[in-house]
Structure formats: C-alpha cells, structure tokens
C-alpha cells in the first residue's frame, strides 16, 4: 500500500457487513494509513457485524441515526475528541427506500414512506454536512464523498423512489459543495457506482438480471465494492484536491454506453 491517507482522520457512514462498500473503504483507508470513526444507525449495527471491522481497523464505533441532527452533532463532536483533530474525509453510504421494502410500486407509493426514504437516503447528507459545516469540523482540503447511482440521471424502473432520492442527494453535493468549498476549501463529490451485490443492492427487485445486463453493457464489466473503495481512496487523497461538485461514474463505462455488442446479440 501507498500511505496515501497517512495522518488523515475520517468518519465512515454505512458499513453493515463485509459486502458493504463502506466496509471495503474502511479496510482500504486503514491500509493507506488513515484513522477514522465508524458509524451507522443503531438498528443497522445490530443487524450487521460492525465490531469485526472496528477491531480490524482500530476504529471506534459511534452509533448515529443520520436523520437526527442531534445524533450527528454528537457523532461529530465525539469523533473529533477520539481522533484528536478535525476531519479530513467523510464517506456517506446510506440509502433505503421504505416503499421498495414494502413492495409498493413507484406509481402507487405511500407518501409517508416516500418522505422517510428521502430523509434517510438524501436529506441525511445535508444534515451531515450541516453539522460538519456549522461546527467547522472539516480541515481545509478535506473531502466528502457520497455514494449514488445512475438512476439519478436515467430510468431504471425497479430502482423506484431511490432514483429521485439520489437526484436530490447529488444536488445537495453541488449546493452544499459550493459553500463548503468557498468557505472552508472542502470538496464534495458523489461516486456513481455499478450495481453492487451489497445488502442494499440486492434488495432492489430483479438485482441479478439487472447486474448481468450492466455487466454485458460495460466495456470493463461492473465495478466491484473493492474497486469502489479504491476509487474512494483516490478521492480522499491529495491527488484530487481540485475535484469538487462532481458526480463521478465508477461503472466500467456503463454510463456512456448506448448499447454494447454483447447486449445487441440478444436483439439480433
């Protein structure tokens, strides 16, 4: 490894189990010399095995519901105490559609569920940055990354209201990224990742078929969780200091494909 994050301090949201992108990112950040705090919602912590990761990466766990400003304030305050410094990098890897879980179609949702999913998946990113910004908790040239999906730009029918949530999330990255850049020299970007067989990914209806389709469409194939972690490390490192407000596709080329030869074979 390369000591790319040597001396850097961070907060990583959303690791559930060893399939999570946040989990792989934590492992890679540790290898690259970073120290960080792990966080997730209490329910998610109970469901997964975050303490295994914490042990492996010498990290402490601070539970926080990312829809609660109070929880986030506690998280940020506690993280700075534990890390003994301001924060250099943050990963937001949080998303959940209640409508998807309950089997509601996009055209007939429960709007209470829509609102809850939006709060968890999108507004939580604003709340996180709000707390970091108000507390002046980020170091200059710090890097904030949220994970997203291309359904924010193009229609994937089974992605349901998560498409709209991701569009809102990406907009927050630009909107808040402006103020964070202007005032504190912090960069904010989203990484738009291939379909990935995480807990969240496989919860999308028809994941296997869709993943196979994306694999055939992408000239380099789907990007794995580990590859996404690598890319995220590059975005946390000092190599990318002037990249901000961007939505970065990490998808083996899928996003700029109209059709591949491999997909066309099915239509000939």
């Amino acid at each position: 490894m390369h000591n790319l994050l040597k001396g850097k301090k961070g907060i990583i949201f959303g690791a559930l189990n060893e399939h999570s992108i946040a989990w792989k990112t934590a492992e890679r950040a540790h290898e690259e010399g970073a120290v960080f705090v792990l966080t997730n919602a209490p329910a998610a912590i109970r469901m997964g095995n975050l303490e295994v990761l914490a042990k492996k990466t010498n990290a402490q766990i601070i539970p926080a519901d990312a829809t609660s400003v109070e929880d986030l304030e506690h998280l940020v305050k506690k993280s700075m105490e534990i890390l003994g410094a301001k924060i250099d990098f943050v990963l937001h890897s949080i998303g959940m559609s209640v409508n998807v879980r309950k089997g509601n179609s996009y055209t007939d949702p429960s709007y209470d569920f829509t609102t809850k999913g939006w709060d968890v998946s999108a507004l939580s990113f604003h709340k996180t940055m709000h707390v970091l910004y108000q507390k002046k908790a980020m170091n200059e040239w710090g890097s904030i990354v949220a994970l997203t999906y291309m359904a924010a730009q193009r229609v994937f029918p089974d992605y349901n209201d998560m498409a709209d949530n991701k569009a809102y999330l990406e907009s927050i990255a630009r909107s808040f990224g402006y103020f964070f850049g202007r005032d504190h020299k912090v960069r904010v970007n989203t990484i738009s990742q291939s379909p990935t067989p995480t807990k969240a990914g496989t919860g999308v209806k028809g994941f296997d078929g869709f993943s196979a389709y994306a694999e055939k469409m992408s000239p380099l194939g789907n990007a794995t969780a580990l590859e996404c972690a690598d890319y995220t490390i590059s975005m946390f490192s000092d190599l990318t200091k002037k990249v901000t407000l961007q939505n970065l596709f990490h998808d083996g080329g899928f996003s700029n494909m109209g059709v591949s030869d491999a997909v066309m074979e099915k239509f000939e």
Copy 2:
C-alpha cells in the same frame, strides 16, 4: 393563432397574477383553442386574481392544495366532469421554499421548512401524476409539463433549497414519465426557464442582479413569461408527441454558455 390545441382539455396549476407563466400559458392555450380548468392553493387564490383569468379564458377554478392527494383526486374528478373528457395536457407551475421566505441560509435551514418546501415544490408533481395515472385520467399522447430551473444542474447560491427540489422534480419527470409513457402513451417533460420576474422569481434574493447577469450571458437574452407560454404550447401540441423524459432549456442559450463577451467585459 393557429388552433394548435383545438379540442384539447387541460388542467393548469399555479397561475397567481398576470405575471405568472401559468397565467400566460392559460391565455395562450385559450387562444389556441383549448379548454381547461385552473387550479391553485386556496391561499394563493386569495392572494392573486385568478377569477380575472378564469373569466377571460372561460375556465372554471377548482381550488386544490397540491400536497394533498385528496384535493388532487377531487380536482381531477371534477375536471373530467367539467371538461366532459379525459385530460390532454397538464401544467405544473408550483414552487415555494419556506427557508427562502424565512431568510434561512442553505447551510443552516430548518428541516421542517425544507420538508415542507420539498413537498410543495417537488413531491406535489408526483402526487399529481399519481392521481392522474391511477384514475386513468389522461388521454393517449397527452402531455404533462412542469416548470423548473437550471439550479437543478448548476449552483446558483441564492436559489437555496429550491435547487434540490428542482432536481427531485426533474427526476420525478423521468421516473413517472417512463411508466406514463409505457402504460398510457403520455409524455412528461420539464421546461427549464430563464429567471422570470414572476411573484416566485422576484422572491429569490438578489433577483435583479441575477436577471441582469443571465441577460448578459444569454446570446438571445432571457426568455419572457409569454415566450415560455408559447414554448409550453408547443409541448402540449401534437408536434412534439415523441419528446418525453426530457428537461428542455428555454433560456436564450444560457445553459450552454461558459461565458459571453458581455460578461467577460466586466473582468477585463
């Protein structure tokens, strides 16, 4: 006029006074032979003079709070009774940020206000299409248009949380547009309009300076409310039957400018 909408029936949301884009669209739709219902929130109806427009265009007014599915169900049912037919076109011209009204900055909002503004400005579009879709209230090749602003793609600091709301709105257009197209041959698009001195537009901080900037940046100058009405008519007409899921910039060219000579003069 050209009888472009002869025989077409519609619902027009959001006309407040004679400066409103929805007002101009209603006038133009009337000239082009359409019949329609006018709607707005009860409070907005009290504030404006919608009955003047109703008289002028032989339209009935049905008050409806677009955040209320019940109100929307009543509106759609009543509209079909009045018009004696299914609906051919719908204009959604609704937007309001409580944070802007209250003077909250983007980096320090009240999240209750954020949620209220999102519900009014963005989710209302989903609710409207939800009711139209569930009630099979649209004719084949009908056209649904929502007005939006380029802050959904790029940062305009004073646009505040309306930027994120518009990103969500545009995503709804794509997401719901897919199902509406697939199932009922209805098209759904958004029109991204120049800064316009409507009641809503002038409520944005620094509107005058910003409007002057946009005027100087755009090779054809800013688009007016009347010109936006004309463009909307084209999107309701049969000339544009295969345009769907699009966000259409109507802005004198602003959206594809990096810088104009007129703007550069200020920096030389």
Copy 3:
C-alpha cells in the same frame, strides 16, 4: 394544418427520397405555409427523386455540394433571389461516413475517409452557417436546425466515426449559435432523432436489430421521420424563439432510459 410557418422562407438540405426526414420536413413545411428551396449534392439528386418533392411543394432545386463554400455561396444567393427575401429557417440533414461505406472498422479506418466523412457530415454545417452569417442572409429570429444522433454522447459501436462527426456537429451548433444569436438573433439547435429507416439510417450495420432494441427501450417507441418533421416544424415556428444552443432529443424517451422492463426481459 395550422399556418405555423406562414410567410416564412427556408432552405432544406438533404432530401433524397420519400423516406428522408428532410423530405417529410419539406412536405410539412409546405403544409404549414412556408416557401423554400431544396438542395442536395448533385450525386444525391441523381440517386433520388427530389424533383417529385419539388413539384409537390412548389419548390425549386438548387444543387450544391455542402463541402464547397463556393457552392454554398451560390445556393444562398440564388435562394434569396428566388424567395425574394432573407431566410427564416434552414434544415441541415446531411451525413455520410466513407469508412462505414467501405466496411472499415472504427479501430482501423482510412484517415482520408475519416476526413472526407467529417467534412461532409460535420464541417458542412459550419460552412453553411459561415455563408449565411457572412452574407447576413438570415432574418432575425430565424431558426437553423441540424439533425444528429445520440452516438455523439454515448457509444453505439456500429455507428463508427459518425459518432465523432455528430459530436463535432453539435459543438458547431453551440459555437456558431452563440455568434449567430448575439449578432443576428438567430437560433441554432440540433435534433437528436431515434434510429430512422432512411437511406442513411439503414446503411448503418445491424440497423434492424438496433432499431428493435431502441423501440423496446423507449417508453413511447421510436420516433418516425414524420414525427421528426413535426418537431422540426415546431423549432422553425415562432413558438420556440428563445431555444438556442440546445441538442434536443426526439426519441420516445430513449436518451434518458437506463433500462426498460421490455429490455430487461431478455436478461432474466
């Protein structure tokens, strides 16, 4: 019909036979009250039956090789004489890849053919506007449209070097559109059309399979040549005066689809 182009004068490039989009556009422009000149390269005129269209639409034919500035100067001068006025609308519907014709792959072209195809398909649009601009041949609020294809944004392997030519063409629309808007209030746009079974379209390898794929992907199905003509009429009309520098997708929604249910069926 609606007299949408009543009194307007135009030049229409690229009609070959009754399948051509330019042919349909000429028929529709005639129905809407326009008068115009038809033009194409001498070889294309010999290959098709343009005189049938000329008769039907009361138009004169002026042969011109659109890669020749001299031919274009003659065309524009002669057109203004015939039409007795400046020009209100121009359709550029020209494209041809010599590498495709000769069966060269994208990865092993003849660069002489690449250059020839670029000159015919892309630079010809600059030359056309160059002549119109230098001769001040366009009326204020005139409209110039070129046809393009989404291969300019995303990869369609069989589209070969036409993808790069269309990217260049679309860039010309923006670049020249700025000057034409600023100096003469003329708008310039491209329409990005579904795969269409014209002479040029069916010349692309694997057209049938690809067209079937696009049909399944698009919520409203592929747009036809006639529908494209209708859309082009709307762009020539006064309804769209402030739309400029845009690339407008006319494709039944294809451009904003990630995947449709109908396509996914093949992968499940």
Copy 4:
C-alpha cells in the same frame, strides 16, 4: 511520494517547458516510480527544452508528429524496445488551432487551417490509439488520458475552433474507449482542466481576464498544472481501474457552477 506507479511504463506526449501540464505529469510520474518515454513534434522540441525534463526523469525522447501514423508506429515500437515492456499509461496533451494563431475569427476561418487544427488536436488522439490498439501495445488495465477543456460542452467565445476539436476528441475517447476496454481491458478518459497558464493556454485571446473569471467562479479556485498532474497520476494508478469513457472535470468546481457570489458582485 507513494510509489503509485511503481513498475509502470508510459508514453507522455506534449511536454514543452516547465509550465506544461505534460511536464508536471512527467515529473510526478517519475516521483511515483514510473518509467516512460517523452515525445513531441520535432518543431515543439526545438522550441522548448524537453531534454532538461528527460535528464531529470531518466527518460528518452522520441520525436513524433502525432498526425503521422508512421511516426506514431515508430514511436510505439521504439518505446516498447526502450521500456522493455508493453505500455501501461499514455498522456495525450496536444492541441493547436491554426485559426487562433493566425487571428481568424470563429465565424470566418480558413477551412484548411480548421482541418489542420482538427488533425493535430483531435484526430491525433485517434491515430495514437489506433497504433497502440493495432500493435497490441497496451497492457491490460492500462490507462490512456487526454487533456481537454469545457469549451467542448459550453461556449467560450475566444476558444474558437478548439471547442469543436475538443468535442471531437472527447467523442474519440468514448468511441475508442469502448473497443479498447472490450478487447484489451484498457481504460480511456479525458480530463477537463481549468484554464492553465501554459504556452497553449496563454495563446488563447484574453487569457488573463478569462482566467480571473474562472478563478472567481470556482469555489476552490482554478486547478494548477501541478494539481492536474496529480489528478492524472490518480487516473494512471490502480485506484481507478473501472473508470472509463469519462470526461472528468478538474476545475475547482467551475463546471457545475451557474454563478458564484464573487461573480455576482460585479452585477449588483
């Protein structure tokens, strides 16, 4: 430094003097453990001081006119001999508009100059990849990067025909990137860099004013040549293996700004 490119072999086009992005990239690649060949056109080599860089980075210089397939074939063959291996990374940093040099306006160019500039600035990238692909000269997971500018998407009047050339260049990256990815697992991307005071950059009319404008518009300010080198290193490294067909903005956020407070001050 981090040994990010340890063991990797490359070819770097376009270093002229110590202000060149290619120069900085060579220095950084050397620091990160890469070995490489430097190349430029014979005339450019005479104009600059490439031998200083060659000495500093233990690199050999192979002159090549990038518009000549023969020269490129010699370059690639010779590079593999010198490096004793296939190629892992390539930087294309070449661009020149003869019309700009001669003072021709965009609306009145010499088309011979337009063609020459297109060949040098855009087609040279196709020719380079053509030779690498045909000779199977790239290692799997190799990385090819070309530098570009946002004028490919949006209008910057003084950028002249380089805007169209960059649009063509970016299209080549996608088109060839598909085949290079599918067949050889090689990724191809473009980096869209802030205005940079290199020899080429300062040749654009009004560079100083424009650079000041971009600085004010970008929340993180303009990206420097050294920062671009760092970003390019990240794209050559194994951290970004699944990023392909992308145009990556490296510009302090400029590309996603509508307007900044600092720019608005001039309009209030």
